[in-house]
């Protein structure tokens, strides 16, 4: 206990030098929390991370280049609850130094180039509005264009209510590019961190080729409060945690933060992007709707089978079978 001199100026001790662990109640010195990658040294509780800390944790030093940093939200609905939406955005910008709840860019994990999108929960609960959806979609499209793996690290309460159905439609906007990644043979890794709920979990985050979760993260479709309130049922032990999802088959692995980077490195090594010649193409198949279109579509789908049964010589186009089928009719037939 230091002796206080009556006339010396009282030193203002920084009040935010310590953080209390919500899980084990121990006091952790903030510097130590930073050194331990924001994991409680006593009980292993994983604190939430900012986008910047996530980048430092996962990517090679100096490799991250942010893309589309200038994107900003509008206020399409003129939304006003207890305060206007633009005010809430401004508050979040000042608080976090971010322009939106997600950033995306390219970087390298142990030398392997990736397109990566990251959420910051402190920006309006990591909620997904038009801009966040746009950034995730561009991240996936960026991976497709460069043929590099895509990674999204989610931490979000869900779709942003202040943009109404435009937020809801971001579920489809962020999911649509995944169909193209499938066709192009580009892997997509989804990392779920505390918390990932609602519309983000109900879109791209649940659709990773590999899904990795951090320990004891809250992951679920509806908030636990909603679920118990609606149904009035006792919730099972560990409901909506990473471990619960692992047990029910919806995530591949639960990985402590200290091993996250090495795990991603290993996944990237064993799941390389497919060679470029199998790349995504616009579907060449033309099939109209109507009797003729359906028949020709059917013939095309049956393909080999049709030509075998009715005996079309596909090279010369002449019919060697009975040739009564309309599929077999050709103008150059004798």
């Amino acid at each position: 206990m230091p002796i206080k001199f009556p006339f010396s100026r009282r030193r203002e001790g920084p009040t935010d030098a310590w953080t209390k662990c919500p899980s084990c109640d121990s006091q952790i010195f903030n510097k130590q929390l930073e050194r331990s990658q924001r994991v409680c040294p006593t009980c292993g509780h994983h604190f939430r991370m900012s986008v910047g800390e996530r980048i430092d944790l996962l990517l090679d030093g100096g490799s991250f280049e942010e893309r589309d940093a200038g994107l900003e939200s509008g206020d399409p609905l003129g939304f006003h609850d207890q305060k206007p939406y633009p005010d809430r955005l401004e508050t979040a910008r000042v608080k976090t130094g971010l322009r939106e709840a997600a950033v995306w860019g390219t970087g390298a994990i142990d030398g392997q180039r990736v397109a990566i999108g990251l959420f910051d929960f402190r920006f309006m609960g990591g909620s997904m509005g038009s801009v966040v959806g746009e950034k995730i979609a561009r991240c996936l499209e960026g991976a497709l264009a460069e043929r590099i793996p895509a990674i999204v690290v989610s931490a979000s309460g869900g779709a942003r209510m202040q943009e109404g159905t435009l937020s809801l439609l971001q579920l489809a906007k962020t999911t649509a590019p995944l169909t193209r990644l499938d066709a192009a043979g580009i892997p997509f890794i989804s990392v779920l961190t505390d918390p990932t709920t609602g519309g983000v979990l109900a879109s791209f985050a649940s659709l990773g080729d590999v899904i990795v979760a951090e320990p004891r993260a809250l992951i679920g479709f509806a908030g636990a409060r909603v679920a118990s309130g609606t149904v009035g049922e006792e919730l099972p032990e560990g409901f909506q945690t990473s471990e619960f999802l692992l047990a029910h088959g919806f995530v591949d692995m639960v990985v402590p933060r200290a091993e996250l980077r090495s795990t991603l490195t290993r996944i990237l090594r064993v799941l390389p992007a497919a060679p470029a010649e199998d790349g995504w193409q616009e579907a060449p198949e033309v099939r109209g709707w109507g009797p003729i279109g359906v028949l020709s579509g059917l013939a095309e789908r049956l393909g080999g089978a049709v030509s075998e049964t009715i005996g079309i010589d596909t090279e010369t186009g002449s019919t060697t079978g009975n040739g009564n089928s309309p599929h077999a009719h050709r103008e150059d037939q004798p």
Binding site: E72, P76, Y85, G129, T165, L171, S206
Partner: protein, 334 residues
């Protein structure tokens, strides 16, 4: 039918007027009206030979979603919709139209069948949302919604979506991705129920009418936002007054929409659908000045790192650009 206007970019954020609140709430109540025609009421009047198929082939059958092939003026289409009940008993059977994961997986099965046979798809949305209970979480509600959306973004057949009553969040969007989205005049579409929005943003569930107005969930608002392509007018006081006339109007709208989109070749269809989804939302570009970057290390830092001097950062750190701060966030998502 009214044609869609270009999306509004920004509206002055202001509390809704009492008239707007009253109008919005009336629409919500009409959309939930007990006598409003449900999916099966419309299907029996619009289509012939509707053959309902059951089960998701892995867990069970969900009566909250109905579907199967049917004929529309002699042409085969796949019909899928949420099904609410008309009284307490049927509502309990139908779970008030709120699907479980097996319902959405049944829908996926029917969508794949339509894709296989080249049949256009007609879906009808009428749900308060996907069911949020513990059983639904255990079976992967979020994954079921996400994979349904993904499947619909890549389906090679035309899809017409009709919002007949409540379009409630992810549970509606799961079968609501289409090439043309039509809405009945008194239908509503929202990212979260007005009650849910009110209890989160106003902290008072009885502010639901205010939330309904703020979210701009009426069909007319959705048309203005570009989420809905056309509005189907309802007879008299609303669809509940005349099921037959409503069905005739819906049938005409579906036929018209199918006529338009069936002209498109599958690759054009998919490209158009993709562009439509990618274009949804309001994104302002480059108004915020240069993006933050991590400073390249100075000569002093490089020398310091080389000589391992104390107090010199190991590498450029993004956590200094975007550090962690206090965590509290009150504006979660849905």
């Amino acid at each position: 039918m009214t044609e869609a206007l270009p999306p509004v970019v920004a509206v002055e954020a202001a509390p809704a007027t009492p008239e707007a609140i009253e109008t919005a709430w009336r629409h919500v109540q009409l959309a939930r009206h007990a006598q409003r025609p449900r999916t099966l009421d419309l299907v029996s009047r619009i289509f012939t030979d509707f053959t309902e198929l059951h089960g998701d082939r892995s867990f069970g059958d969900d009566p909250a979603i109905v579907g199967g092939p049917a004929l529309l003026d002699g042409r085969a289409v796949m019909v899928i919709g949420h099904q609410k009940g008309n009284d307490t008993e049927s509502n309990i059977l139908r779970n008030f139209g709120s699907p479980h994961p097996e319902g959405l997986r049944k829908a996926q099965r029917l969508l794949r069948l339509a894709d296989k046979l080249g049949m256009p798809v007609v879906t009808m949305l009428d749900t308060a949302g996907a069911f949020p209970g513990p059983a639904a979480e255990e079976r992967g509600q979020a994954e079921a919604i996400a994979s349904s959306i993904k499947l619909m973004t890549g389906l090679q057949v035309p899809i017409v979506v009709v919002i007949v009553g409540e379009g409630g969040s992810g549970g509606a969007l799961a079968i609501g991705v289409g090439d043309e989205v039509l809405a009945l005049e008194n239908a509503v579409y929202a990212v979260i129920s007005p009650e849910g929005c009110a209890s989160i943003l106003w902290r008072a569930p009885d502010k639901a009418p205010e939330a309904a107005a703020a979210m701009r969930m009426t069909a007319a608002d959705q048309l203005e936002l570009g989420v809905v392509d056309a509005i189907i007018e309802e007879p008299g006081e609303g669809a509940h007054t005349d099921h037959d006339a409503t069905a005739r109007a819906v049938k005409a709208a579906i036929s018209g929409a199918l006529e338009r989109i069936s002209q498109l070749a599958p690759d054009t269809l998919l490209a158009t659908r993709y562009a439509r989804l990618r274009g949804l939302g309001v994104v302002l570009e480059g108004t915020a000045g240069p993006a933050p970057t991590v400073e390249p290390p100075s000569f002093r830092h490089r020398l310091g790192r080389l000589l391992r001097l104390p107090g010199v950062p190991r590498r450029p750190r993004w956590s200094e650009v975007w550090p962690s701060g206090d965590d509290g966030s009150d504006e979660g998502g849905a």
